[in-house]
């Protein structure tokens, strides 16, 4: 198929086939690609807001004492930074944006099973986000509880906790709706020949993620409603003065919020499992083990929430069990890493931007995962719990892991939907800056944590000053790289070099359709005759 017929200007592309025009053609569209792009630009906007907050936090911590803000502002900023990054960026980021864009095409479907429900999910997300933003500027102001909303503090705080928590509650429903939609779509709408063992690994990872979204998110919803009941009605579930138990809240919160980490990282692993074989021109090593390990992580990951609570006063027996289960989750993660590295062996490797992000994902995710072992072992967790070590570890997994995978996905898949691509050289420079800045910032934080600096500290003792300065300077390098990456990417998507159907030589179905794809993806239902990484049959040299 000649791709030049399908530039964004040609009528067959999903960009300009609709009767109505302007914003309503987007915000009321039920096309999975349009919804995917709506999600993408929404989550990216919230990401940039939270990045600015993060940079401000680092500037405040640049030197001991007051630098640019007072303690109340600092406490509100780290709460809002965390809440936006977790609930408005990275949880909806993969399923909402790239899941919607890519998954239906990868399984050979015209759309998801419930296109209207899909649109509703984006609307719920935006309404929830609007409620959260309203909460920042009304009532008692932005919440200052930390994104974990621990009681009794969150039940007492005079800030606008109830409204913010209600916003998160609504966003949670958007996540559940997406999960239901994806599970149904993957079960029901696979093209003929798309058997479970030919499913691209990104789809496998979304499938595992969708189950976590469906099963775990309702518990978050209930927990958040209980906080509101505690604050508004004074029911005393968590307040010891009224016979309640603050530790029970922590259980309820982490029963969702630990599996939520897998909502953030599993699809990222799926992206890496797509990029590495394509840029090595070689079938992925251990397809079945990678697919199986996604399910294993989702299942075992639902049983490890207690490792957030080793210092909370839960019983020693509970710590024994949760520590053991935490180590069990490490095994499928290790299996994935070994399989990715083995895929490179005797391949033909090309180091373009998506591959650089994928390879750096392996290093950063490994550091995040391995430092997780320190946190899983009961004795060592006690020392670094609630310190900057945890902050560093978490950012290695979620920023170095999920974030870098998302950047990789942006370079890998967005050209498919815009029909144009970014410039390669600036993309590589931006990646290099981010990789260096990232490690300076977050590795330093882990060292600070080992030295005993607690997290959520507005001020600190002079002994922690030099390393805090280093971490702040690192955050600036990271920010410069991020800006360069986005400018280059957006310029490329608007006016860059046009791309053909299959710029990277992929063997999954999205590379068989034009860039950008037509509205219903395939002129006629495709029949799948080979696996997702069978490059010998994908028509590439």
């Amino acid at each position: 198929m000649n791709s030049s017929e399908y530039s964004p200007a040609t009528p067959s592309s999903f960009w300009n086939d609709t009767g109505s025009s302007g914003i309503t053609a987007w915000i009321f569209s039920t096309d999975h690609k349009r919804i995917g792009l709506l999600y993408f630009w929404s989550v990216l906007s919230f990401f940039l807001v939270a990045v600015v907050l993060g940079l401000l936090l680092r500037i405040e911590l640049m030197a001991p004492g007051r630098t640019i803000m007072g303690p109340e502002t600092y406490n509100a900023l780290f709460t809002v930074h965390g809440a936006i990054m977790v609930f408005l960026f990275i949880i909806p980021g993969f399923p909402g944006a790239f899941g919607n864009l890519v998954m239906p095409i990868q399984i050979g479907a015209r759309d998801v099973s419930f296109p209207r429900l899909n649109l509703f999910s984006w609307w719920l997300y935006m309404i929830g986000a609007a409620v959260i933003i309203t909460a920042l500027f009304t009532g008692g102001g932005a919440p200052d509880t930390g994104w974990t909303f621990y009681v009794p503090f969150s039940a007492r705080s005079g800030t606008n906790v109830s409204l913010a928590v209600f916003g998160v509650f609504i966003v949670g429903f958007s996540s559940i709706v997406t999960g239901v939609n994806f599970v149904t779509t993957i079960h029901r709408l696979r093209a003929p020949g798309m058997s479970w063992d030919r499913l691209p690994l990104f789809v496998w990872s979304l499938y595992a993620t969708a189950w976590v979204q469906i099963l775990a998110t309702p518990i978050l919803g209930i927990t958040l409603l209980l906080i509101i009941a505690e604050r508004v009605l004074g029911v005393g579930l968590f307040d010891p003065v009224k016979g309640g138990d603050p530790v029970m809240y922590q259980h309820l919160f982490w029963i969702y919020s630990h599996p939520a980490v897998y909502i953030m990282i599993l699809p990222a692993m799926g992206v890496i499992s797509e990029i590495i074989p394509v840029f090595s021109r070689k079938p992925v090593f251990g397809y079945k083990m990678i697919a199986f390990s996604s399910i294993a992580i989702a299942a075992a990951g639902s049983l490890v929430w207690g490792h957030h609570m080793f210092t909370s006063g839960i019983s020693d027996r509970a710590i024994l069990i949760f520590s053991f289960l935490t180590f069990v989750v490490a095994i499928p993660s290790a299996i994935k890493v070994f399989n990715w590295v083995s895929t490179l062996y005797r391949g033909s490797i090309s180091l373009e931007a998506p591959m650089l992000y994928a390879l750096s994902f392996i290093i950063l995710f490994s550091i995040g995962g391995l430092t997780g072992l320190i946190l899983g072992a009961a004795a060592t967790d006690i020392h670094v719990h609630d310190t900057h070590f945890v902050v560093g570890h978490f950012h290695y997994v979620i920023f170095g892991g999920s974030g870098f995978a998302l950047f990789g996905a942006m370079h890998y898949w967005l050209p498919k939907f815009y029909g144009r691509r970014y410039a390669e050289k600036p993309a590589v420079v931006a990646w290099g800056l981010m990789f260096v800045g990232f490690n300076i910032t977050y590795f330093t934080m882990m060292v600070l944590g080992m030295k005993g600096m607690p997290r959520r500290y507005y001020d600190y003792l002079p002994e922690f000053a030099p390393l805090n300065l280093v971490a702040t300077v690192g955050s600036w390098i990271l920010a410069v790289g991020l800006v360069l990456m986005l400018v280059n990417l957006i310029r490329g998507l608007r006016g860059g070099e046009p791309v053909g159907d299959n710029p990277w030589g992929g063997a999954t179905l999205e590379w068989t359709v034009p860039s950008p794809p037509p509205t219903e993806n395939f002129p006629e239902e495709p029949v799948v005759t080979h696996g997702p990484y069978d490059f010998s049959k994908s028509g590439m040299p």
């Binding site: 303690p71 503090f153 010891p240 090593f285 490490a330 005797r346 391995l370 004795a379 967790d381 609630d386």
Partner: protein, 301 residues
């Protein structure tokens, strides 16, 4: 691990750190080195086409499932054994009760003496009973690798030995609001004889007002020496002129008995300009106690 062989909490935890960090470093260097080598060796400039279409290997999968399993089980066991050492308090440990409130520490000894710093005898195990009066706090001694949350309505404990005399940081590790990062004090480990002298020294000359201020945690936010903390310093505040907002209008007042009493009983009434309105109320203070505290503050010139 036999608890009798444990000489200190840090001696129980540090080998676990060494073991896990060592294993992690080996794995990370190994993975990175192999990856970089593959990327260089099989770069498209050297390998224009793949030379293998291998889709997997059962024996390799078994190997890299079993080996990490054994390794993490070892880490789990070692971590658990070290943790038990943190929980098993040696016989004959001295007991102290730590009371945390927003945002100060108070330590009470069995003879009734109390202090805002944790004085302990060097070389002797100390068991700290952990009590919180308002929200969650965290009792964290980095030097001894000890941490435990203080949960309202629940008594937790921790133990440690300061093997050498000295001063060690004590942090609040569980986020507790505006003054969280200021909620720090120290462990003062004294030679045993010196510690006994301190413990049994009754500060006869000490004003009862100061004891009360210390006991209720006032000094966590208000200094006695003029230094800046979250609240105004008490030094020289008596007879000074303060600005505050009342009914939306800026007002000025001279600090007198009535102002100080109102500020203790009803803290939100007249908040001194430039300070946050965050002081909690203390419903269990008696009228007489407030009077003694006010007297003491008035004496701080």
């Amino acid at each position: 691990m036999d608890p009798n062989l444990i000489t200190s909490t840090q001696a129980a935890v540090d080998p676990v750190f060494m073991f896990i960090f060592g294993a992690c470093l080996l794995l990370l260097v190994g993975i990175t080195a192999v990856m970089v080598w593959f990327v260089i060796r099989y770069h498209r400039s050297r390998a224009p086409a793949p030379t293998s279409c291998c889709e997997g290997n059962v024996w390799l999968e078994i190997a890299w499932t079993l080996l990490p399993t054994l390794l993490v089980l070892a880490m789990f066991y070692y971590g658990w054994a070290g943790y038990l050492a943190l929980r098993n308090v040696p016989k004959g440990a001295m007991e102290v009760t730590a009371t945390a409130r927003m945002w100060s520490w108070n330590f009470t000894y069995t003879n009734g003496k109390s202090s805002s710093k944790l004085y302990v005898p060097a070389g002797k195990p100390v068991k700290v009973n952990l009590v919180a009066t308002d929200v969650l706090h965290g009792f964290y001694l980095p030097a001894f690798r000890v941490k435990r949350d203080l949960v309202p309505g629940m008594t937790n404990y921790a133990w440690f030995i300061a093997t050498k005399p000295g001063s060690y940081d004590l942090f609040c590790s569980q986020y507790c609001g505006t003054g969280h990062s200021a909620m720090i004090t120290t462990v003062e480990a004294l030679p045993p004889a010196e510690f006994l002298a301190w413990l049994n020294h009754r500060e006869g000359g000490e004003h009862r007002g100061k004891e009360l201020l210390e006991k209720h945690g006032c000094l966590g936010c208000h200094s006695l020496d003029g230094s800046a903390k979250i609240g105004p310093t008490f030094k020289g505040i008596y007879r000074s002129s303060v600005r505050f907002m009342a009914a939306g209008k800026p007002m000025t007042a001279t600090v007198d008995d009535a102002y100080l009493t109102e500020s203790i009983v009803k803290p939100s009434a007249k908040i001194v300009e430039g300070f946050p309105a965050i002081m909690p109320t203390y419903p269990d203070l008696t009228v007489e106690e407030v009077k003694v505290m006010v007297e003491f503050i008035e004496g701080l010139k």
